[in-house]
Amino acid sequence: MTAFVIPLVVMNGIAVIIFALIMLLKTFVASYGSCQLVVNGSKTFTVQGGTYLNKALFENKVYLPSACGGKGTCGFCKVQVTEGIPDPLPVEEILINYKDIRQGFRLSCQTKLRSDISIEIPEELLSIREYRGVIRSSDYVTRDIKRIGIHIDEPKDGLDFKSGQYLMFKVGEGETRGYSIASTERRQDEVQIEVKLIPNGLGSSYLHSLAEGDELTFFGPYGQFYLRDTSHKVICVAGGVGLAPMKPIIFETLLKYPDRDVELYYGVRTFEDLYDHDMFLRLQANHPRFHYFPTLEKLEETVASTYAFTQGFVNKTLAANLTDGDKSEAYLCGPPLMINSSIKELVEKGVPEIRILYDKF
């Protein structure tokens, strides 16, 4: 009998002692008073010391972008600390370059508040809000891409965004994922996104599992990838589900700018991956200023369409059809390989590099 009891008592005794010591340290050592948090020199919050900067900002309704859920791997939540700059952590040295580290840029998810702190964030981040919506529709447009329509319930004045920007969806406790706004029609209380199912992907499998009537929470709008107010020709280069942010860009250009041409270069793997093909063909027929160049990587004999597709990669179609590169600006969204090869092609065609905007995923 004692042969069983003694080991158990010893093991549990040691575990309890260690646990008690940790709890004691947590209560008496790891407690920091309250700190002043100043944002952009104008807003001052009093927050509990010992919390992370991103959590403190979140509680005060300042929503920084984040794709990794505060693990310090995406680098989106970078802020500039102007007063009370903490020493950089090794994770930050990987994601932020040396010059920025010296100027006080830090990851807000890695910065623990131990004393008063002042930070600078881009002014537009202060206008980001939390939205609550209900799913109105969720339909497959290809075998793995779902188009999800969301009705915005809260706040009542709805969502105002720039064409090409994205929203961060809450997909789990503390986890958010970004998806581009894909609405063709601009409405304050409705928004559409397009989600490609990635096997074992946290965000896409969550959003694919939602049905009509389910509620969801998101933040936005984020991103420097939006239609610029110029008079240049708009060149959209999209790969796969990268088509999503192009739709607001195309429709806004056609509606708002009577003298800007739009060209859409759209590359997918096979005919089955192609979506909104008919819509763009109709748009091309109705709008002389819109030109549509779909490209299939693999062209099968049995394609159920009479359209004469180009076969190959998008950059090949770009090379063959793009003119007036120096009077154009380009918007690219798709996988990195496609973006890199297309940027090379665009530069060769004379598009200035500062007018090439892209969103890699």
């Binding site: 040691i14 340290l25 050592v29 090794p90 623990k112």
Partner: protein, 191 residues
């Protein structure tokens, strides 16, 4: 065996990273930058000395008198996990600048097998108390030497072009093998 000999033997001739190939995961992963490698090495050294000393007392004065030597694994793992957490809290509160150097490595150390291995070797080799301290310090120091040397080599690797498919981690393992061969040269230096 004098204490200095134990330190030298465990740090150089029986280097824990290069002769036993223990703690390989952080050895490959954290040796990308010199600062990070030095921080990790320092953290391992500090933690290994503290945990092995605590484990020495737990083993000698609790487990052996009660004839519970078979519980050594469980007790060692529990004490390592607990001590690492306590250290993290203490360092963060009282040495914030030190925390910024090896703060994030501390939780990683919980699963670094060097720490457990040193405690287990301590039992196998039946060191005295000061022998234990010297041995654990030497092992931590040896691991730190190995990882900082590797980080220095990898800095040069950035300017060379190894075989394409050998990539980053692959060539690092080859390098570790070559370093181990070089350390073999120390064998026999200390009888």
């Amino acid at each position: 065996m004098s204490l200095a000999l134990i330190v030298l033997a465990s740090a150089i001739t029986n280097n824990i990273a290069l002769t036993y190939f223990l703690g390989m995961c952080p050895f490959i992963a954290i040796s990308k930058s010199l600062r990070g490698a030095a921080g990790m090495g320092l953290a391992v050294t500090v933690v290994v000395v503290i945990t092995t000393t605590v484990n020495y007392f737990a083993y000698r004065f609790v487990l052996v008198p009660l004839r519970l030597e078979f519980l050594a694994f469980v007790v060692f793992i529990m004490s390592i996990a607990g001590i690492v957490q306590m250290l993290e809290i203490l360092v963060e509160r009282y040495f914030p600048s030190l925390y910024s150097i090896f703060g994030i490595f501390l939780p990683l150390i919980t699963v670094n097998c060097v720490i457990l291995a040193v405690s287990l070797f301590m039992v196998l080799r039946e060191y005295t108390f000061w022998g234990t301290v010297a041995y654990s310090f030497g092992s931590g120091l040896g691991w730190m030497i190995a990882i900082t040397a590797m980080a220095g080599l990898r800095k040069h690797l950035a300017f060379s072009s190894p075989v394409k498919n050998l990539g980053d981690a692959g060539i690092t393992i080859v390098l570790a093998g070559l370093m181990a061969l070089a350390f073999l040269g120390f064998q026999g230096m200390l009888a």
